[in-house]
Each structure stands twice: as structure tokens, then as C-alpha cells.
Symmetry: C2
Subunit: 366 residues, 2 copies
Amino acid sequence: MKQYYYFFTNGKLRRKDRSLFFLFGEQENSEPDESQFPLENSLVIKSQTDVNQNSSEDDSDKNNKMHIPIETVESIFCFSEITFTRAVLSFLGKLNVPVFIYDYYGNYCGTYYPKCEVISGERLLNQVRHHLDAKLRLEIAREVVCASIKNMDSTLTYYENREIELKSEIEQIKKMYEDAESSTGIKRLMGAEGYARHNYYDAWKKILADKNFDGRNSNPPLDPINAIISFLYSLLYNICTNECYRIGLNPAISYVHELGENRNSLALDIADIFKPIISDRVAFSLLNKGQINEAEHTRSEAGGVYLNETGIKIVARKFDEKLRSTFYHRELKRHISHRQLIQHEVYKLLAHISGEKPLKCFRAWW
Amino acid sequence: MKQYYYFFTNGKLRRKDRSLFFLFGEQENSEPDESQFPLENSLVIKSQTDVNQNSSEDDSDKNNKMHIPIETVESIFCFSEITFTRAVLSFLGKLNVPVFIYDYYGNYCGTYYPKCEVISGERLLNQVRHHLDAKLRLEIAREVVCASIKNMDSTLTYYENREIELKSEIEQIKKMYEDAESSTGIKRLMGAEGYARHNYYDAWKKILADKNFDGRNSNPPLDPINAIISFLYSLLYNICTNECYRIGLNPAISYVHELGENRNSLALDIADIFKPIISDRVAFSLLNKGQINEAEHTRSEAGGVYLNETGIKIVARKFDEKLRSTFYHRELKRHISHRQLIQHEVYKLLAHISGEKPLKCFRAWW
């Protein structure tokens, strides 16, 4: 399976014939810029191995030049001050590799999309038909929202089993699940989802009792924990966008979210299913194990609170570990990674709108 | 009005605070690459003025550094070996400036799309409704195809008035116009359009009598004239994509072309209207005035014939001049540029699908 490449180190991506290289830390210093991260300890997360800039692995050489086997690249996430040449962008375009660009604060800014990706016309029409037809749309939206609420429930139950008193929040969430299950319109469904989510974040105050968390906020996040959550959600969102794009679903045609709220609102639909069991679990794990320090790894700037360069690196690496970690899938009867879980979900959505198999979204049992 | 920026010179785009700079020809030479164009005489086409690398205009300085007033940038076309930093891409993302990347051969490879552009959900639904409903779709498609055929007619008539015998081709095209006007299905319509276009390119053999033109071919173009046409069409296509994107029309939902034939098939629909009166006129003008030399400005490579670096520059500059050139618009009763003409057409399409005003596509009278 191809890998996501996350770049945290400054440097240059260069093409030579049919190969891609990364030149570490050759960013010119003549033009200091707010976006230049310190070079020390900067890393590229690559597959299962972290290649340090001083590494002397097979695919690096003494000149701090790393060969990137292009056939292993699924897409590129750019968090550091990297320069792309036109030759590299046209090469990535031909190989269908999208590049997601994040700014200094870890905000997602834009994507380089290759030209050639084929979107089947029939597939797009099926997607749109299921949006336009209120009954068909509700079927999908209800299934997505129910799975999303059930996964909030699972995450809270996990912590309740660890002696945190979350009974009332879980009860409310279960009620909202029933409400969602029986709802006959999108608005009612969204209401149930919103109320469940409200209770869910309320429970976080108890799970993160020794932390300073006073509820969810965003755009911009106003405290360190919300900065971590926002960043994790934007990573998940781009992974979902990428998987839609790969399978040939138009990420702009959604079922729960309204169209145009966001360009890729289908990715938001799918991300909602996985927030509680992927992003949020990563956040809890980082915070409760003290792997991230709210004060040390964030900064207040431009009216919000953001992860700093080290914070971005810590969170993105942990997120990638989570995506790569595997579990035994009861229905598939085999071990799959969390990334494959997302891919499988996108595939199930495609099978549903193609009339092959009714959608049954993933509900965590742990 | 904001300008398209076309980059033909090697160099670096850099951001400093809220400003954008272009550093001429600072591409490192340590890594020679097929995509590095010679620096001499390389230019950036910018608004009405060409800023030479040795220019000492206000917005350049002695260090070969050109300031690019970001508020004037509509979008960027990259034809040369330019490096983009992450800081530049995130800056362009925030300012909603797309970047179109072309390879060494002048082939379009991919686009950097900013995150934030808002697509109205209602607008998208209107677009899709007009695609799904056969009657609504035919109405738009017929109008687009008729305008496209009429514009082929106008271009040939222009040359017939200049003593080139094109009577039979024009007659066939007029017949196909009537056929298209009365057609009751997309297939019949496409047939009329295809046959008209066939006759249209046949007429080119006479218009370009002293040239070596033996009909249209593409993907890849097999001779110098087809290389010029293909490149002009891809420029027009990206301009149309850009204008759809700006007005909030999804360029993937088309009416003449099938969905998924190409990612931005609506841009293909709109481009067809303007090929005869913009791209093709530029081609004739370049060829008949001897402003481009088929042998000197193209090269045979990779099984096709492509413009070389000088050829790309000549054609793109002429194309941009055409876009900026104005004419008196009879209905609008004022002078507008050809670029505004395209924008107006995209706007008319929006007004049509919004139910504001029935579509009447542009038919040239010259």
C-alpha cells in the first residue's frame, strides 16, 4: 500500500529523470521568513521509519539527499518550508500525487491536484441523485450520523470503564442515537448530532480533568487543547478527501453537511464517523500520557492558539501511527489498519450509491 | 481588473510578509534538468508591460527582484522552472489565487487550488439539475453548440471575404447549424457539432495553404500547427476553468460534454464557443504573419510535436494580447476585452441555471 508522506523538515523537493529526491535543509537563509522552522531534529515521517537528516540509511546519502521511491507515494502533506520546482509539480501531476499545503499555524491552505484523475460521470450522477432525492439522502445521512454518535458513545464508554463518571453524558448520547435513528428529516438529524456532540465534548472536561479544557471551540481555536483537536480534525479531513479522490467520489457532494458549507463536504461527513475513534483517541492519548505539553508545544498568535513546529510534528506523527496501527475487524475477519478502515468506509459509500449494497457505517465495539 | 500572470522565466517566487516577489533566474545550476529554460530573453508577461529581467522599473530592483502586487494577481500560469515555497503556496491559498502548472512540453499537468473558495450549494444543485434533466440539458447544450458552430462560420467567412474559396465548407457548417438548432437529443447535437468541426478544420487547409496542415490531431499533436492549436486550446481551457471557479460554477458539471470525460468538462463546453474567435484567430495571425516559425519554434519529442520554450512564449503572449484586446459589444453597448467576453458568458450561464435569464450564447458578427 502506498504511504502518506508528511514533511516537517525544511528542504527542497527535486526531480531527476524519473526519480524524486528530498534535499534536507537547503532552504536559503538569505531570506528569513516566519515560516522557516528550525532545522535541528526536523524529520520526514516516511512509512514505518523516520529518516533523520543525519541518517545514513540506504535511501539517504552523505549529502543529506533522500531518495523518495515515487511508487510508494500516496500523497504529500507539507508542514514545513519546502520548495517545489515546476518539474516536481508536473511530475507529481503525471503520477497522480496530490500535495496538501499547511501554513505555519498548521492550518490547511490549499491542494495541488493532478490533472488526470478520472471521475466517472455515472458515479458523479449517482452521488448527486442521492443528494437531491430527500429520501435517499436521509438514508445515507442517518447512517453516517448514527455511526458518528455511536462512536462518540464507544469512546466515552472506554473512559467510563476506566473509572471516569460519564453516565449522564453517555445516556444523553444514547438518547440522541435513538433520536437520529428515527428522524425523518435532515434538520432533526443534525439537531440530534449537534446535541450528542455537545454532550460528548462536555464529557471531555471530565476525561481531561487535570487539564484546562472548557469545551470545544475553533476557527480559531482559543486554547491549547482545541488547537490540538483542530489540527487532528484537519488531518483527518484531508485523509478523507484523499480517499474520496482516489476511489473517484466527488468530495464536494455530501449527505449530512450541506453542499458548499465547505468545498469537500463529503470528506467532512466521513471524517465525523472517525473523529471519536481516530482523532479524539490520539488527542486523549497525547494529553493523558503527557506526550504533548500544552504550554510548551503551542503558541498564541493572531487571535488564536496554535501548535508550534514541535507540536505539529508530535501530533502528526502520533496521528500517522494511529492510521497505521491495525486491529482485528470482526466483519472483514482480518486485521486492517485504521487507514484501511477509512478506505473501506469510502468504498462502502460508493457501493451504496451504486446500488450494490446498502450502507452500514462503521461502529466501533471498543 | 486582476491580471493573469504568465511565467516563462526561471526563478523563485518568494513571500515576504504580505508581499510577493519574483527572483529572476536564481534556479540553482547544480542540478541541470530538462525543464530549465535558457535565461536569456526570458520574460514574465505581466499586465500591459513586459518586465525584462534587466528592467529597472519601479517594481524591479537591481538585484533582479520583481515585486508582484498581490492585489493584481488573478491567477498564475507557470511555464518555466519556478520554485514555489510552502510560504508562497499558503499565501496564495489565503488570497484565493490558483496556480496552473504546465510541463516542459506546454502540457497542462495540475492546479494548485486554494482551500477557501466558496461554492454555493444551491448553485451547484441548479447546475446539476440542468444536467440531469434531459430537456434542460439539451436547451443549454444546443445553445452552446449553435454558438460554437456560428463562430466557426464567422471565422471562415472572415477569410472568405479575404479571397479564400471556402464556400462549400461554409455551406456545410451552416447546414450543421440548422441541424443543431432543430436537434432533439444530445447525440444528434454532438453529431452536428462534430461534422461542422470536421468541415471547419478542412477549411484550414485552404486558409493555411502555404503551410503544412493536414487536419486536426491531438494527444499528442503530430505536427507543428497542431502543436500550436493544442497549446492555445489548453490555455483557453484553463482561462475558462478559472472563470467558472471565480463565479462559483463547478467546472466539472457540463452540458455538451459528458461528465467525467474530463475533470472540468464545463470549461470545455465554454471553450468550444470561443475557440474559433479567440484561439484559432491567434493561430492564424501567428502563422500568416510569420510571427511563429513551425520548424524553429517546435520540437519533435516523445512521439509528438510540441512548442519549444520560445514557441510557448510567443504563443502565450499573443494569446494574452488577444484576451486583453477590446472590441465594441453590440448588446452591452460598450467596449469590452475578450477576457471580459468569456466572463460575461460564464455569468450568462449562471443567470440561466438560476432561472434569471434564458441563455443566449455569444455569436461573433465579424
